[in-house]
């Protein structure tokens, strides 16, 4: 065998070693980068859902902003504000599996005009004999309407603390954007009420060590 035509792989061992390290390092960087990308998908997903209104995630605007939008549409240059347009909003309350709550909407249904602000409320009662923190997660269907369904105030923005056997009405103020697609005449707002993953109580903590001990017990459970 002539050595002119073939290069023995061994003859350039050091060089080859360097090239192996190079390729391996690059591939390893790709692998680590993709692991990071998996985690990056979490905030990306949030942003995409927010922008597109996917997953029925609803919008949130300030009262001032909502009034400004109403005035703008009342001027009606583009004819989007139809004074006689009415949308039926249905309210649904769901207790997530294993939750010991009563949770129902106080209004089953409301007829609303786009651009105007409305107030409704949900009733929640803690049926257990220990304080619990709840968290409501909203969803609007059809999802095409979700991004036009804006809330100026909602109990779902914050964690809701309840004393043992405690109950209260929780308000929601909402306004449907006048830009809502013309074919939407019925919107369902549904809340699922969960036991919050974070069970630390802000108020009772300092007051009653016994209660906070029992809270710690639920958290570990």
């Amino acid at each position: 065998m002539s050595s002119e035509t073939t290069t023995s792989v061994k003859s350039n061992g050091a060089d080859l070693r360097k090239r192996h390290l190079m390729v391996s390092a690059r591939m390893l960087m790709l692998a680590v980068g993709m692991f990071g990308f998996g985690y990056l998908m979490v905030p990306l997903y949030e942003v995409i859902c927010e922008v597109t209104g996917l997953n029925g995630k609803t919008g949130r605007i300030s009262v001032a902003e909502s009034e400004a939008r109403l005035n703008e549409s009342l001027q009606g240059a583009d004819g989007k504000f139809l004074a006689d347009r009415e949308i039926t909003v249905e309210f649904v309350g769901i207790v997530s599996a294993g939750g010991n709550w009563k949770f129902t909407p106080n209004d089953r249904e409301m007829k609303v005009k786009p651009g105007q602000q409305y107030l409704t409320s949900y009733y929640a009662e803690n049926l257990s004999s220990i304080p619990v923190v709840g968290q409501a997660s909203p969803s609007v269907s059809p999802s095409a309407a979700a991004r036009y369904f804006n809330k100026t105030e909602c109990f779902c923005f914050t964690r809701q603390e309840f004393e043992a056997k405690g109950s209260r009405d929780m308000p929601v103020t909402f306004v449907i954007d006048p830009d809502v697609p013309i074919n939407v005449d019925r919107v369902t707002l549904s809340y699922t009420f969960f036991k919050s993953a974070d069970q630390t109580l802000s108020s009772v903590d300092a007051l009653n060590p016994q209660i906070s001990a029992s809270v710690a017990a639920i958290t570990t459970y």
């Binding site: 390729v23 692991f35 998996g38 699922t192």
Partner: protein, 535 residues
Amino acid sequence: MSGYGAHADHDEHDHHGPAPGLKRWLYTTNHKDIGTLYLWFSLSMFFIGGAMALIIRAELFSPGIQIVDPMFFNSMTTMHAIVMIFGLVMPAFVGLANWMIPMMIGAPDMALPRLNNWSFWIMPFAFTILLSTLFMDSGGPAGGWTLYPPLTLQMGDSFAFVIFAIHFMGISSVMGSINIVATIFNMRAPGMTLMKMPLFVWTWLITAFLLIATIPVFAGAVTMLLTDRYFGTSFFSAAGGGDPVMFQHIFWFFGHPEVYILILPAFGIISSIIPTFARKPLFGYDSMVYATASIAFLSFIVWAHHMFTTGMPLAAELFFMFSTMMISVPTGVKVFNWVATMWKGSMTFETPMLFAIGFVIMFTIGGLSGLMLAITPADIQYHDTYFVVAHFHYVLVPGAVYSLLAATYYWIPKWTGNMYDEKLGKIHFWTSTVFVNVLFFPMHFVGLAGMPRRIPDYSLQFADWNAIASIGAFGFGFSQLIFLWVVIKCIRGGKKATDEVWEGSVGLEWTVPSPAPYHTFEEAPPVAVINKNHF
């Protein structure tokens, strides 16, 4: 003709053969030994995963709950999938890559032999951990191999073990892939340009990139599950502001490229076998390479077709529908190329060729039902029915698994130096092919009629087809014992194989003696030989 490839001069090396005993296998860095280990490992997983499938089919033989309790049934469907995907198909392809890639590109070994040893030996531990969960009080994982939360988060204590096992399998796959990429980039013999590489090498190069790019995403997703369950994070728990649907996005971002990981090396195998037995060069080699690359690219932008029923907006449904359908174009190019290769060839029908033709026909059936599933409005009907089960089993069993059987029959004379028993091989092919269709074809019918998947019981109207499918399952399962016997018989002896083995064989692996010596291509083959041995 075999002089240069073989290890001719024994005296000038310290180690010219394998170490004796068990240590040979534990410490080996030889690509052929490691390839053999991978292949035996995956064969054992084939039978373990197959036994699980038979438990499933025994329970589904007739309506009602007969044999196993529903929880165990669920863990059988889950484990069957994990074992077959991560234990059979992936390691078997890695084993073939180990054996064949260095011999196909004229390299003495893999680029990173010690890493190679490591990536294999992680696997038995990973699967011992995984299978051990079946003997735990909480039972094995039972929420489906896709591990969707919130169901998966309610799994018993086996959860942590399953996640740990998956991490290990992932590390093994990524290390194996890095090794393959480094081998193909750096170890090709002079003159072996990229466009002269056999398609098995090409498809594996692309598969390795897919693995390195997606397995870490999967690792991230299961790590999120783990921290959700044990460390109080809320990635997927709505109670803490997370979203379970997000898991499906992350999972299928890995999961869809994964299905191409399971089939691209098969394309490479079939592209080697068909030209050999048609005695014609592969039709459209370049288009095969480009088709493989485009399939790999498209696999990253179709993932949400697994999620049409989650309530996506119309625009997204349309995008994922069309991108999914687009995959059938490069796949169609491949199928037509194989058919064109056979066209007017001097074909003979040895066992590897039979399995290869079986692959082309039945993989295409699976591809067509996939095209049906890609149509969003239709998919909303088919979703989670046995039609889906029929679809992916057609592409995986008479698809990926047939390619593995074909590869074994094709290369085993090179591995052992003996010809396998052709008559038994043909019996194995025909029994497998009859029974695999008896097994999976009726699933199309019960699926279209609405039978849901992953449920141990079903309505009476599905009873007949299910009984037939179960008969097919047992027939197919026991046919594989013939394969085991053929392999053992071939190792123990048989007609001596020539170096070329097959009359029309083309490729560097056929220029070394049979059985392939422990060390091959310590000196690269001459350029003239390379030029003569490619399509």
